[in-house]
């Protein structure tokens, strides 16, 4: 089962931080939840949303190189403007939500009926 990113954003009450990304057309089949960049680098795939509390610029580099289309920052974490700008350039959708990574992952898991 797969879902559209905008359905997921609504389910976690997320706020979209980036512009110009056509998030309604991003399909998610899966998610990856990790705060260790080399773990994400080695495992995340381009059909997954990445759920994390890391907010450094390197997050965008890792998302871009692995092809992850969207990153969800949990616990109300918001990255700097420079990070959002880079994400805009790389066409990666950034979302922030108030939930914990556990809760945000759980909701996605249920939506995907895993």
């Amino acid at each position: 089962m797969s879902i559209k990113l905008d359905v997921y954003i609504e389910a976690i009450n997320g706020e979209i931080l980036t512009e110009n990304v056509d998030y309604k057309n991003i399909e998610l089949d899966d998610g990856y939840c990790s705060d260790l960049l080399s773990d994400v680098m080695g495992n995340a795939l381009d059909n997954q949303v990445w759920i994390t509390i890391m907010r450094h610029l390197n997050v965008i580099a890792v998302a871009s190189l692995t092809g992850v289309p969207a990153v969800v920052f949990t616990k109300n974490i918001k990255p700097d403007v420079a990070v959002i700008e880079k994400a805009n350039n790389e066409e990666i959708c950034l979302i922030t939500c108030k939930l914990s990574s556990f809760e945000a992952s759980g909701i996605l898991y249920q939506l995907l009926k895993k």
């Binding site: 260790l36 580099a61 190189l65 692995t66």
Partner: protein, 162 residues
């Protein structure tokens, strides 16, 4: 200097022939990697990936090149006194050389162990330091070669066939 080799199955002979007589690359990409510059680190890997993408290299291979190159680039940024990346592009493969200016690896086998890391607090705050970078490079390259020693430089080179 200590040396480490990893060959994925069926690549050893091919690679040895290559290293015995390295042909002239079609294209050479050069990058300087500054010490602890976490803002720009990753750019060289992104450019190498983009270059291969324009050549029409398969997405799965692009991903392996990206993972390999990024991990090695970050290691130069995080653990070394800076260095260079040279990407040699051939019609059927890429050869990337990551050369730094020290301080070198005390024990290559130990550094290759998943989970082994000497990352500083600063590096860990950036999200690095899981000790998975070198294992990721091994997993994603066809050939991996390291030459290093304590208080010397580290040279890492990889081959990935398209």
């Amino acid at each position: 200097m200590a040396e480490y080799w990893n060959f994925e199955p069926n690549y050893e002979q091919k690679a040895k022939r290559f290293f015995a007589n390295i042909p002239k690359p079609e294209m050479i990409l050069n990058y300087d990697i500054a010490v602890k510059d976490f803002v720009h680190s990753g750019n060289a890997s992104a450019q190498i990936k983009l270059f291969l993408k324009r050549l029409g290299v398969d997405a799965k291979v692009l991903r392996r090149v990206a993972v390999t190159s990024y991990e090695a680039e970050i290691n130069i940024t995080a653990h070394s006194f800076g260095g260079t990346i040279v990407g040699n592009i051939f019609p059927e493969m890429i050869h990337i050389i990551f050369q730094d200016r020290g301080p070198g690896l005390k024990n290559i086998e130990e550094a290759m162990t998943p989970g082994f890391s000497t990352a500083s607090d600063l590096v860990r705050e950036m999200g690095f330091g899981a000790g998975l970078g070198l294992p990721n490079i091994k997993k994603n390259s066809d050939v991996m070669h390291i030459v290093s020693a304590e208080n010397e430089s580290t040279m890492l080179e990889i081959l990935i066939y398209y």
